[in-house]
Symmetry: C2
Subunit: 347 residues, 2 copies
DNA sequence: TGACAAATTTGGATCGTTCCAATTAACCTG
DNA sequence: CAGGTTAATTGGAACGATCCAAATTTGTCA
C-alpha cells in the first residue's frame, strides 16, 4: 500500500518538468514561469506532497533548520507555562517550530535534551536553566555557532544573551511601598543565596532600604528554599529577632504564601498584623485570602521578547550576546495592609 | 574558523577506519571489534562530533525520526501544562524529542503547526484538539502511516486512538455524592452541547440521577460557555426554574467558580445555601473559598498514558486505533456542604 | 600448511532536496 | 536573419548518514 513518500521527482514526472523546476517552485523563485508554477502547485496538491525539510537542511548544511529548542526548568509552574506560550507565539508566526522539553531542575536531563536537540539540528536554543547550570555548559553550542538565549535566570560568566525581569527594581519598589506605609523593620525572606536571581533581588532590597533611609541589616535577610515550606521556616526564624520585623518582602509568591502560613501559625493575620509582599504574581495571588500584594512580571511577554531576540540572532547569522531586562510592576492587593476595608469580605 | 560540521568521514579519517565502520559504531553494532569501537568513540569525543539525525533519517526513509509532535489547545491552562509534562516524561525517557505547539483553540493554527511538524518528519502525533476539529483533519496523517493519539477531547468518527478521562463515571460520582447528602433537585450546568466531552458528562449526569432514583429532567440541564462567566449565566438561568435546584454539578471548575460568583450575587453562600461540584481539580480548587469539591483527573498521568500509547503504536509500526479512558476521583472539599465545620476558618 | 568458516572492515549506491553551470526557448534589434 | 539578450529550464554533483554485497583479516582444524 504505502508506495513510499512522494518526492519532488514524482511531482516533476507528473507535471512534466524537471526536479530542479519543482525545487524552484518550492522556494518561490521568480525564475519560473507563472504557468508552470501553478501547474506544479496543482500537482503537489493533488498528490498530497509534503516537503521534506530534513533533506533540504542536509543540502543546506545545517544552519537553517527552522527549528528552535526550548528548555524550561519547570513546566508545571504556571509562570513557565506562560513563558512557553509567549515563545510559541513568536516562534510560530516566524514559521519555526520548537522542541520543548522540561528538565524538572535536573541538570542531567538538561544536558541530555540539549544534546538530543542538537542532533536534530536546532538553529537556536532558548533555555531557562536548571538550578546548578554552569556557564560552560553552553560552550559547545556557541562554538558551533548556535545562538543561545537564557531567560528568567541569568548565567553570570556565560557569553550568551539573556532576558530576565528587573529583579532589582521590583524588590526595590516593594520595599519603597512598605516604607511608604510606615514600616521600618522590613525583612527579606526566602531564596537560595547561591543564585543570580537571589543576588539581584537582594541587591534590590539593599537599594530599596537605602533609598527609604532605612538601615540595611544582614540579620534581616533570611534565606530558605524558594517554596511555601521555605517561607514558613523563614518567617519563623525572622520572628526570633530581638527587633521584630513588621513587614517582609519575599523572594517569590510561594515563599510569601508560606510566610502567611507561618504568621497564622503564630496567630497573626497577614495584611493586618504583618505586611507581606511577594514576587511573580502567580495566578493564585489574586484569589488567595488575603489577596497577595506582589511584583508582577509578565512571563508571556518575557517569552515573546526572548524568542524575538533569539530569532533575530539566528537571522543575523552571528550576533553579540545581549542582556535584556524586562519591566515589572507592583500590584497592591491586601497582604501588605495597604487596601483599606476591601470590598469583598468572606463571611 | 567554522570548518564546517564534523562528519563520520572526519571521524573515520582521524581514527584510521572507514566511514562504514564509524557508522556501525554509531548504531552500536556487535560486528565491530571492541578495540576499534573504543578508538572511534574516543575520536568522536575528542572532535566533538554530533550525530546528524536528519541525514540518517533521510536514508532510513523517514519513519523513525524519533520526534513526536505534541499539539495542545491551551497551554496557559494548568491542566494542559501538566499534561504536557507527563508526555514529556515518557517521550524523553524513550529517547525521543517532542515538538510542542499551542493552538489557542485556533483550528487554523492547528492545521499549520501540524503541517509544519509533518515537514520536519514526526513519527507520531499527540494532540488535544482545538474546538471545532473535524475527524477528517487527521486523515492525511494516518494515510501516511503516522500514528495519531488524541487526548482529553475525543474525536467521534476519527479512526485514531484516544485517551480521555472517564467523564461519565466522574459526573455520575458527583451526582451520587450530592444525592447522598440529601439533594434531590440537582442541575447540570455549563459546557457547549456540541462537544464530545459535554455529551459524555451529560450522560454521566443522566446515569447518576437514575442510579440515585431521581428523575432526569431536561430543564435541569443548562449549557453555557465552559468559563467562569458562563457559569454565572448558567446558575442565573437555573434559579429561574419553578422547582429551584439545591445543588449543581458543573461542567468544569471554571464553571463552578462562576456558579459560586452567581450564588453570591444573589446572597447565597456556596457550600452552605447551595451545593456546588466542579470537574478537573484545577490548582485553585483547593485554595478557593470555599474550597471546591470536584472531580480530580490526573492530567500528568493522562499525558504519560497517551505518550505511552503513541510510542507503542510507533514501535508496532502499525496499530489499531485504541480508546483508553483514565480514572477520575471525587475530591470532597467544602463547596458541596459535606464538610462539617471545616477546621480552617478565615476570620 | 592449506582450506574453510567466522569475524571485521569497506567501497559504492542511495535517501530527497538544493545549487551551479549549462542548455534551450523566446524575444529583440539593427 | 545573424547575433545578442533575457527568460526558463535542466542535468548532475553535493549534503551526511545507512546498508548491501564484497573484500579482507583472523582463527580453526585436519
Amino acid at each position: 500500500m504505502t508506495k513510499g513518500r512522494i518526492t519532488v521527482i514524482d511531482i516533476a514526472k507528473a507535471a512534466g518538468v524537471s526536479k530542479s523546476t519543482v525545487s524552484l517552485v518550492l522556494q518561490g523563485s521568480s525564475l519560473v514561469n507563472e504557468g508552470t508554477r501553478s501547474k506544479v502547485n496543482a500537482v503537489m496538491r493533488d498528490l498530497g506532497y509534503v516537503y521534506n525539510r530534513g533533506a533540504a537542511n542536509l543540502r543546506k548544511s545545517g544552519a537553517n533548520s527552522r527549528i528552535i529548542g526550548v528548555v524550561v526548568n519547570d513546566l508545571t509552574n504556571g509562570f513557565f507555562a506562560e513563558l512557553a506560550v509567549g515563545v510559541d507565539m513568536v516562534v510560530q508566526s516566524a514559521g519555526f517550530v520548537q522542541f520543548l522539553s522540561n528538565t524538572s531542575e535536573s541538570i542531567d536531563r538538561q544536558r541530555e535534551v540539549i544534546a538530543s536537540m542538537r542532533e536534530h539540528g536546532i538553529s537556536g536554543l532558548l533555555v531557562s536553566p536548571a538550578r546548578a547550570t554552569e556557564a560552560t555548559d553552553f560552550k559547545p553550542l556557541i562554538a558551533a555557532g548556535i545562538p543561545v538565549v537564557v531567560v528568567v535566570r541569568s548565567l553570570p560568566g556565560a557569553k550568551v544573551s539573556s532576558v530576565v525581569s528587573d529583579n532589582r527594581a521590583g524588590i526595590a519598589a516593594a520595599v519603597a511601598h512598605l516604607a511608604s506605609l510606615g514600616h521600618k523593620r522590613i525583612t527579606f525572606l526566602g531564596g537560595f543565596p547561591d543564585t543570580a536571581v537571589f543576588d539581584e533581588r537582594l541587591d534590590g532590597y539593599r537599594a530599596g532600604m537605602k533609598a527609604a533611609g532605612l538601615e540595611f541589616n544582614e540579620a534581616l535577610v533570611v534565606s530558605s528554599a524558594p517554596s511555601r515550606a521555605g517561607g514558613a521556616e523563614a518567617i519563623a526564624k525572622a520572628m526570633l529577632l530581638a527587633a521584630r520585623p513588621t513587614a517582609a518582602v519575599c523572594f517569590n509568591d510561594a515563599v510569601a504564601f508560606g510566610v502567611c502560613d507561618g504568621l497564622r501559625a503564630r496567630r497573626m493575620e497577614p495584611g493586618t498584623d504583618f505586611a507581606v509582599v511577594g514576587f511573580d504574581d502567580v495566578i493564585e495571588a489574586q484569589t488567595a485570602v488575603p489577596a497577595l500584594t506582589t511584583i508582577a512580571v509578565d512571563p508571556q511577554g518575557m517569552g515573546r521578547r526572548a524568542a524575538q531576540l533569539l530569532l533575530q540572532q539566528i537571522n543575523a547569522g552571528k550576533a553579540e550576546a545581549e542582556a535584556v531586562t524586562t519591566g515589572v510592576r507592583l500590584v497592591v492587593r491586601e497582604s501588605c495592609g495597604a487596601s483599606q476595608a476591601s470590598g469583598r469580605k468572606t463571611a
